[in-house]
């Protein structure tokens, strides 16, 4: 019964990949206007760039399916990148990596306590964390940008710049984590609980699920994926700026919404999010290649989120009527 419900929801999510169809058409048009978009070297580059948003989108998928949202990830990305780069030169790359994951875990736990256990409004609480973590980034760095002194001599470079059999390591990390988290979400009882809590919290509580704990755990996952994204971006850039992550939360949300995950909770999929991330990345790269300014992407994100959610809402309403 539980299984049926989940399979049904996965099927629904798959149907709702229809959300992405209009954007595939737009992508086709963009590709005609900017032929370099689909050159093999460019494809590799776009996929590598998409892996940062991609890794964060995996965590966000869990949070959205549990019926919540995490707006703090952009600032969190800035803060963790800053800490990583700072510790890399002061202590060493090993400590820096462990610290990054530790900070991601810690912030995830804080978010989890605020939203899961204290039951604060997820949107506003994580909006508050967005501001708080941005401030923490400025305080930590004293407003300065940091760079790694000797980027050529550290194994840390492998995370963002390395290649294995000609495939960029960030892509491998993204796909590896997608497989791992996809398994966790779609094949384990934990994953089914996340769906259950997002689908109907009251029912799930009556069924004996500890909703606060499950909600909190999705924030921990989101914190950890953000830490991984910070490692990729830090290693790629070999530096950290106070505004590294500004606006990332919107891109991530747009990608996940494009992938058919519902904001209402209870439905969505990791595969959908991966597809959403890739489509969004190509779309944005295409717009850049056409020579359009970067802030046009913000308008694109706006339109994408609204259309994706509108389609979602319309399909839900039809279900109610039938």
């Amino acid at each position: 019964m539980f299984q049926d419900a989940v399979l049904g929801k996965s099927r629904l999510a798959f149907q709702r990949l229809g959300v992405a169809l209009p954007f595939l058409v737009i992508l086709g048009l963009v590709a005609t206007a900017a032929p370099t978009l689909l050159e093999p070297s460019n494809i590799g580059q776009v996929l590598r760039q998409s892996s940062i948003v991609g890794v964060m989108a995996l965590g966000m998928t869990f949070v959205l399916i549990s019926g919540r949202v995490d707006l703090s990830i952009g600032s969190m990305l800035s803060l963790i990148t800053m800490i990583t780069i700072d510790l890399h030169d002061r202590v060493g790359p090993g400590v820096a990596v462990i610290a990054a994951l530790g900070v991601g875990l810690g912030i995830g736990i804080v978010n989890g306590i605020l939203v899961g256990f204290l039951r604060l409004n997820a949107l506003i609480a994580t909006l508050a964390m967005l501001s708080l973590l941005q401030g923490a980034t400025m305080i930590y760095s004293n407003g300065r940008d940091l760079t790694v002194a000797a980027p050529g001599e550290t194994w840390f470079a492998f995370i963002g710049r390395g290649q294995v059999y000609g495939i960029a390591v960030p892509i491998l990390i993204f796909l590896g984590l997608a497989a791992l988290l996809g398994f966790l979400l779609h094949k384990t009882s934990y994953g089914r609980r996340v769906f259950a809590v997002g689908g109907n919290e009251t029912t799930s509580a009556f069924s004996g699920l500890r909703a606060p704990l499950i909600v909190a755990s999705t924030y921990v996952i989101s914190g950890l994926t953000t830490a991984v994204a910070a490692l990729i971006i830090g290693s790629r850039v070999m530096g950290a700026q106070t505004n590294t992550g500004v606006g990332y939360e919107f891109e991530v949300i747009a990608a996940v919404a494009l992938g058919g995950t519902s904001f209402l909770g209870g439905s969505g999929s990791i595969a959908g999010s991966v597809i959403g991330v890739v489509i969004l990345a190509f779309l944005q790269n295409g717009l850049l290649q056409m020579g359009l300014p970067y802030y046009l992407q913000w308008i694109v994100s706006w339109v994408i989120i609204i259309l994706a959610v509108w389609t979602d809402a319309a399909s839900k309403r039809k279900k109610v009527l039938v």
Binding site: L120, A125, L127, A128, L133, A136, W298, I299, I306
Partner: protein, 335 residues
């Protein structure tokens, strides 16, 4: 509530009861509207820490800073009571400021201001339409709009700051009546109107009805969709007003104007005791929240706390406000 305290003797009775009643009243009031206590505490703290804090000059400055995001708080109070939210307000302020200043060389003074206000109104209507007619949750609609409208502002103005080219615009922005900024007085006037609307008009009563129980409001014949769309339009208009007032006061506009203001405005509303779950709230207490946050920002500055900490303060204040929100929205204990 059933047990009335028994007087011990004739002399003690009156004073005990009077003191107890007063204490209970103050306690109840403080529990319901703790924001005024916080405000008083903040004012006392900062005036002890800095001799310049309580000067008329500084207080009128606080009021001006309060007015800027206070405009947004007025609209947000209406929307939050009707159980909606508008996160686009900060971006709308930036866009309206850029339009009002950027179009001055070609269109003069008043037309660009009208266009800026019109843009805010149009975005408010669009938000309302998407929430009510398309049936998307207001949080998602306005979250997406927050970044998209910022994109529009950048697309219009580029990344540079634009200076106002008409002197009258700057003079209006710097206008003071007595020692108080005209913008601050305007904010107080709009606040009073908002209070009147909520408390004494049909629109106000319907706002509470929709936020309290939407289905019941529909069944009672309230035109809910129209009502909410008007609410978003008011919020958009006030946001545009905030941006233009800021531009006039500073004599320039930037797309980044209003960045993060939605956080300040929402924090003020929630600190003022308006429930995010809808159906209750008072605009007078929103004023308390606005003044508290403006005093905090100004006071921290006066005692030389670095500007970065302001971001942490707003975040902390929001979380604290939310915490109070959940604490006090629990059902009152039976007694």
């Amino acid at each position: 509530m059933s047990a009335v305290s028994e007087p011990i003797d004739g002399l003690g009775r009156d004073s005990t009861n009077w003191a107890a009643t007063a204490l209970t009243a103050i306690g109840l009031w403080a529990r319901r509207y703790p924001v005024w206590i916080f405000l008083a505490a903040a004012l006392v703290f900062f005036s002890l820490k800095s001799p310049h804090f309580l000067s008329v000059f500084n207080l009128s400055n606080i009021l001006l800073q309060a007015a800027f995001f206070g405009f947004l708080s007025i609209g947000l109070t209406l929307l939050i009571i009707s159980r909606n939210i508008d996160l686009t307000v900060g971006s709308v302020a930036g866009l309206a400021a850029c339009l009002a200043v950027g179009l001055q060389p070609s269109l003069g003074l008043w037309l660009p201001i009208a266009i800026g206000l019109g843009a805010g109104l149009a975005i408010g209507l669009l938000n309302g339409f998407l929430v009510e007619r398309a049936g998307i949750d207001s949080f998602i609609v306005t979250l997406a709009g927050m970044i998209g409208i910022k994109g529009l502002a950048f697309a219009f103005a580029g990344e540079e700051s634009i200076s106002a080219s008409i002197d009258l615009f700057n003079e209006l922005g710097a206008l003071r009546i007595g020692r108080i900024h005209a913008i601050a007085l305007l904010f107080l006037a709009l606040l009073a109107i908002g209070h009147y609307v909520l408390k004494h008009t049909k629109y106000g009563r319907e706002t509470y009805a929709i936020g309290g129980n939407r289905t019941a409001a529909v069944n009672a014949g309230v035109r809910v969709s129209r009502h909410v769309i008007i609410g978003f339009a008011i919020s958009g208009l006030l946001a545009a007003f905030c941006g233009i007032a800021m531009a006039a006061n500073m004599g320039a506009a930037m797309p980044a104007f209003g960045l993060g203001y939605e956080g300040w405005a929402i924090a003020a509303v929630v600190l003022g005791g308006t429930k995010l779950s809808g159906g209750s709230g008072r605009i007078v207490n929103t004023l308390g929240g606005v003044l508290l946050l403006a005093s905090l920002r100004n006071g921290l500055n006066m005692i030389h706390v670095p500007a970065y900490y302001v971001l942490v303060t707003i975040g902390g204040a929001l979380i604290l406000a939310l915490f109070f929100d959940t604490q006090f929205s629990r059902k009152p204990r039976q007694g």
